[in-house]
Symmetry: C2
Subunit: 379 residues, 2 copies
């Protein structure tokens, strides 16, 4: 089953243009997945997602488990039915939110115990439990439970953690053998910022028959140069014929480099969170719409973008909406930023197909010179 | 000019089905006008307004004058261009917000001085000034400056205030003689809760050649029965051949009664504000979507509504969005409530045309028994 879900149609260097098939559709890769934390991409409706051309969104297992509850969602027929979203859904394992949002978390062999950030109630996530939750949500792509090692963790801690992540992955695969159902299951490689541990994690995980493999534990506070170093070290070690997913990443430059390193899938709250902060991505660089310079700017936000926001409104109006903190501002800005990130993936794919990915990466790099300079530090 | 802008096609008792023509379109009356405070109906985009079938929205002169500034809007080509709204726009006079939002207001013969609620800066609104602002906004229907007398004002204060409102109306008409431009100008009748003063205000105002007449100063905190008493007293005194506008009103029952009394136009923040509070209007009565009873309710919000929200989502999902305070909740709820209010106006019009308005009013009354009981108190 796992082999037929993903085909690579073109390669340009390490970059891959492929197609991923799930129970809910066909996903051209590379792809960016908008984050729908609690079952809605913030400020964005399913018809908006169709308009920006998103074939797959992400849901957060931790959030949906706590509210409205995965069993309630299951009784509604799953997350697609509940949220009226006909496309594909990937759910994370819940692990990352346990480590970043909840309090009093205790990691044991059995799993991770934590208190809800909503009401302080106590819960236990095990490898088996988070699969049961994701099966209740009926996500198209489920992720195994892992420990996301914090930046700065020493070698010994990281090595022990990665061994636990491997044992959790084995339990997950045992609880949900390949071919059990239509829900795909991806493994998550860890290893912190130690290259040999990254390699070890991949060797241990990739012997298991997962449908795809993620790189976890990057973009957790490390310097950009270090992230890129690890990314370019790790991605080529992953099995070539399966989809590769760089979790929680990132900026347009990060994504362009991820694709360059051979990654196929990305997710990040950046386009929607930044939209709500007035930071907008355009074909001529990043702008903050709150700036006074836009007060009388009658041009579109991005003349090269075809989203509803750019087709319809001026920068002057978008600035006014943002300055007034109108709810419409959050939707229009999110619509645009998501279009930018989806366009980035679409354009990257086309560049790979046409064998000009190096040029494409150079153009993205030129758009974000400050970030590119940081990425190049120590290189 | 003013006579040709409005035609009455059917009457059923005092209720009227008509057509109002502005520089930006044809408006079937009775009509409900969504409130677009600072140039956007909260959480709602122009394509949403088209979807709910709103031919006209309201803009607040006070808000737009302060931010982004009417002159900035004029340099953008007016409010229609600025907000990308192709339909009609009515702007209020700014008076009501001066009295309800600003501090340190001083009413003088010349006009009203006030401090901005945004930054405390000092401003003066005169009858001439608020017309200049509305001309800068290029609204299709402009309102004259008036003093909205607070509930409980005594006879002498109300009489003096109404005389000032009349003098301000004279100055407005003199500054902007009939036929000057395509922007229509409506007068606002006042008179508080004294029937003879209501009559006097109408006699004084309606001698002036305004394009339409508003009833101001209702729904300002008075008991519902008293509002209805004044409404049914006042509406029939207004000129029969011109559009009648009941400002800032109201609930579905208020609107149905306003139509019954012969009013043609209504505006209120109720559908959008209540939407953001989870209070939703349906064909079987008002509900609060936050209630636990909807947690597993897979039915549509209103089976008799054809809006995007009702066509697409379950009550269970809408409850979850509201409970999570997701931004999408505000848009979906607002879309529905606006559809309800526009449908109310459309259905009322059809009932008038078919000569069954009494039945229609009885049905609306039955939907809101508590409110209807209050309206009947002392009747």
């Amino acid at each position: 089953m796992s082999d037929s879900i993903f085909t690579i149609e073109h390669k340009d260097g390490a970059a891959r243009a492929g197609t991923l098939r799930t129970a809910h559709g066909v996903i051209p890769t590379p792809i960016f997945m908008p984050v729908g934390t609690v079952g809605s991409v913030k400020a964005i409706a399913p018809d908006d997602l169709a308009a920006v051309g998103a074939p797959i969104i992400l849901g957060n297992t931790y959030h949906l488990y706590l509210r409205p509850g995965d069993e309630l969602v299951a009784r509604r027929g799953g997350l697609h039915e509940f949220a009226s979203w006909p496309g594909s859904i990937l759910t994370d394992s819940g692990g990352f939110q346990v480590f970043s949002l909840s309090s009093l978390r205790k990691i044991r062999e059995e799993g991770v115990e934590f208190r809800s950030h909503l009401d302080g109630s106590k819960h236990l996530f095990t490898p088996e439990k988070v699969l049961q939750i994701q099966r209740n949500l009926n996500s198209d792509i489920m992720m195994v439970l892992d420990e996301c090692v914090p930046y700065g963790a020493d070698y010994d801690y990281t090595a022990k953690s990665l061994a636990l992540t491997t044992r959790w992955a084995q339990r997950a695969r045992a609880a949900y053998p390949a071919g059990t159902a239509h829900n795909l299951l991806f493994g998550i490689t860890q290893g912190g910022f130690h290259k040999d541990l990254r390699k070890r994690s991949i060797e241990e995980l990739c012997g298991m028959d997962f449908d795809g493999f993620a790189i976890g534990g990057l973009s957790v506070g490390e310097p950009k140069a270090q992230m890129y170093d690890l990314l370019y070290h790790t991605a080529p070690l992953l099995p070539g014929h399966k989809p590769r997913y760089l979790m929680g990443v990132g900026t347009p430059l990060d994504i362009a480099n991820g694709i360059n390193a051979g990654v196929d899938m990305f997710d990040c709250v950046l386009p929607t969170r930044n939209a709500r902060n007035g930071t907008l991505y355009t074909s001529v660089g990043k702008i903050n719409i709150r700036r006074k310079q836009f007060a009388e700017d009658d041009g579109p936000l991005d003349p090269n973008c075809n989203c509803y926001t750019c087709r319809t409104f001026s920068r002057a109006y978008l600035r006014h909406l943002y300055a007034s903190q109108e709810l419409l501002s959050f939707r229009l800005n999110s619509l645009h930023n998501l279009t930018y990130f989806l366009d980035l993936a679409r354009n990257a794919r086309q560049a790979i197909i046409e064998g000009r990915y190096t040029d494409f990466l150079a153009k993205i790099t030129a758009l974000y010179p400050d970030e590119a300079a940081k990425a190049a530090e120590g290189a």
